[in-house]
């Protein structure tokens, strides 16, 4: 364990914080990691083979466990006890998922690990909308390679050269498990429509990999993985960082402020111990914020001083701005063609084995919306859940053997199509400190503002039409509950749990908070390595990019530290 004086304090232990700790400690720097949640050990706390009958309410979703009893999330969800936030009057809905556990959201995430493509870094150059990043795909590509090799990503396939859907170089990815019956099935409809279906990139170890266990092709990844066969910060990044002897982790440490010295450099942070309520200040030569886009912005906004009366690095009012999420919605279908298949084990590798990348880059004008979406498709004969009764319609008066027979044939004949689409940053989506509301420790809370743009609404409507067409081609029936009006169909802000932006990187301090390495323009020994630095929110799920950017930024921090520049 390292002790004071630390070289670096890292706030947060998820994708950004975990990767920063991994690289900084491996490079010989002494690191203190502060995590707001409790200590968490997936090797002993993951309910791997538990079945619903062992859980209260058969594992159904409740306000205490919004993604179901067995979801890995600890002390969190859409509400965190004692940690409120507000949504401004007149705003569209915004919701905010937070866990309070070591490893953060990497414990329960969907393990979808897609690279951003070259167009994703230069959206404004492409169509005049949104903003360009200060880096290109080529700048980040080597870090994607390293990240995929480190965390273990499946989805290897011969290079396809699809536009803005990067192929990983040979040796970066492992092969996915073969498509399951429902994946073979839906692929034919997309093929008929001229839309490619390709292996999903999933952060699951599907083949022998040094130092890692291989997937056992059972138990849902969302519970976490006690054998470390998928990527969690707590199984993949933090153990090797601890093994260097250079890392100290303090849990239940709710950081609320970056402390500055007399010359305006960061000298450490202040936090409240969640258990005792006591305030502490710790010091280091540099500070890395990776608390999640919302919390990182909140810490900066709450770090007020004579030099920064509106919050640290917020002289130009950029902190909290350009908050983004993914566009998301789903339609379920039922397919008579899938009834009466012989028994088959569809547990698979946790992530989808295949998916549909966005196919319309070259016809956005005719489609009538500027940015695209990919499709995540779930189905098969997975472990039955409490909702399995919905395989029988309300007006089917079936009981006894007739009921059993009907359930047996229909079980697994449903497929869910979910779109995840790019959102263009806009001036109406941001967070700020609520002028009135404080949490129970007296720390001002975030107030969110949200408004989807027309581009997202039209994209959402297109998703629904695509899913309905695919369901129809496959001889299926869409299940009630979907909306064709994009405004009604679209997810709530924050609902996809891809909230990014708020502390974006850029070319200079006029329109960004940090440089291309996540280094604060205002305070050079302060870095941000979470999703807050993202300039755009492509359809690709952000975690892999957060990891790659965090590694690149941490490497820059190491270089500066070795030069004595911090």
């Amino acid at each position: 364990m390292a002790s004071e004086p630390y070289d670096v304090i890292i706030v947060g232990s998820g994708a950004g914080g975990g990767m920063s700790a991994y690289h900084l400690t491996k490079s010989g720097l002494k690191v203190l990691m502060l995590e707001a949640g409790r200590q968490y050990d997936p090797t002993t706390e993951t309910p791997m083979f538990n079945i619903p009958a062992q859980a209260p309410l058969r594992g159904a979703s409740t306000p205490d466990k919004p993604f179901g009893f067995y979801d890995a999330t600890v002390d969190g969800g859409w509400e965190v006890p004692n940690e409120p936030f507000t949504v401004a009057d007149g705003s569209e809905p915004f919701i905010w998922w937070r866990p309070r556990m070591l490893g953060g959201r990497t414990n329960h995430w969907g393990r979808i690990a897609l690279r951003f493509g070259e167009l994703d870094f230069k959206p404004r150059s492409r169509d005049g909308l949104g903003y360009d990043w200060p880096i290109t795909y080529d700048d980040l590509a080597p870090w994607y390679d390293k990240t995929e090799r480190l965390i273990g990503v499946s989805g290897a396939a011969p290079p396809r050269g699809l536009l803005n859907t990067p192929d990983s170089p040979a040796g970066c990815l492992m092969e996915s498990a073969p498509p399951r019956a429902f994946e073979i099935f839906y692929e034919r409809a997309f093929r008929d429509m001229g839309i490619p279906v390709i292996p999903m990139h999933g952060a699951v170890v599907t083949q022998a990999m040094e130092g890692r266990n291989t997937c056992i092709f059972a138990t849902p990844c969302g519970r976490g993985c006690s054998i470390g066969a998928n990527f969690q910060s707590t199984t993949v990044l933090l153990p090797p960082a601890m093994a260097t002897g250079n890392l100290t982790i303090t849990t239940d440490a709710l950081v609320y402020q970056v402390d500055l010295d007399k010359v305006g450099k960061a000298k450490g942070v202040s936090y409240v111990d969640r258990k005792t309520g006591k305030h502490h200040s710790v010091t280091a030569r540099s500070v890395v914020l990776a608390a999640g886009s919302g919390e990182t912005a909140r810490i900066l906004l709450n770090s007020k001083s004579a030099a920064f009366p509106d919050g640290l690095g917020n002289t130009n009012g950029m902190v909290g701005r350009y908050l983004m999420d993914s566009v998301g919605l789903g339609v379920q279908g039922r397919f008579p063609a899938l009834e009466n298949l012989p028994p088959t084990n569809d547990d698979g590798q946790g992530t989808q084995h295949t998916y549909v990348p966005w196919w319309g880059y070259e016809k956005q004008k005719e489609l009538g919306f500027p940015r695209g979406y990919h499709i995540e498709i779930g189905g098969g004969r997975r472990m039955p859940s409490l909702g399995i009764g919905s395989y029988v319609a309300d007006d089917e008066n079936l009981v006894g053997d007739a009921l059993r027979d009907k359930l047996r044939s229909r079980y697994g004949s449903g497929i869910g199509f979910d779109g995840r689409g790019e959102m263009i940053p806009n001036d109406d989506c941001y967070c700020e400190l609520d002028p009135d509301v404080k949490d129970k420790r007296g720390i001002p809370v975030l107030r969110f503002h949200w408004k989807w743009g027309d581009s997202e609404i039209r994209q959402a409507a297109h998703m629904v039409q695509t899913f309905l067409e695919v369901i129809d081609r496959l001889g299926g029936t869409p299940q009630p509950g979907f909306e064709t009006d994009g405004r009604k169909a679209i997810s709530k802000g924050g609902e996809m749990i891809h909230e990014v932006g708020t502390v974006r990187m850029g070319q200079d301090d006029k329109d960004s908070v940090v440089n291309q390495y996540g280094q604060s323009w205002a305070v050079p020994n302060l870095f941000v390595t979470d999703g807050a630095v993202l300039v755009s929110s492509p359809d690709k799920n952000p975690t892999l990019s957060i990891l790659a950017l965090a590694w690149r930024s941490s490497d820059h921090l190491v270089t500066l530290a070795k030069q004595g520049a911090l």
Binding site: P56, L57, R180, N345, S385, D394, L403
Partner: protein, 205 residues
Amino acid sequence: MEDDAPKPYVSKIDRRTALTWIGIVGAATAVGAGVVVYSPKIGSKPEARGYGTDPNLVNPAKAPWPRILTADQLQTAAILADFILPASTTAPSASTLGIPDFIDEWVSAPYPDQVASRSKIVPGLSDLGRKVLKASGADRTTALEALQGTPFFISFRKLTVGAYYTTEEGFKDIGYIGNVARVSDPGPSEAVKAVLERELRKLGL
């Protein structure tokens, strides 16, 4: 007693747990910090506490809230659950798997969805109990068959089917063969692929 008269349902919940719910043992009702306490009330009675935001997932404790069904309502739940899923030649009846206790756990829970479900299920069980608990076999069957299609029956059947098929016995009956560690995932068998191809051809795909 007629041969087809229902045998009394014997709860699968042990006595000590039941005493805990009514506050005689007490220890398990202590709930730590971080528990969200829900405000919805039925009449003037506040809801019990849930299992909190950090329950033990590997060895889950029994749901901590007190159960509210009366003995008659529980017996009625057993009769209706076994009307929906009686024993088949290969699978046990719903009551054998303790489904009536699950119904009690569900309608007694303090969370919003379950509180809403309670207002449908509990009066339905009381009404049905008056018709079936002391009825002859034929009258009981008539009353149960007449119930089909009502909102109460639809809700109760969803819960019964969901609770039944989320057990090991239910997995076996419905044909779920997963939840076992495997060295690799070979994908679907040739037999599965053959059926798929036949179906895809029918669809012109």
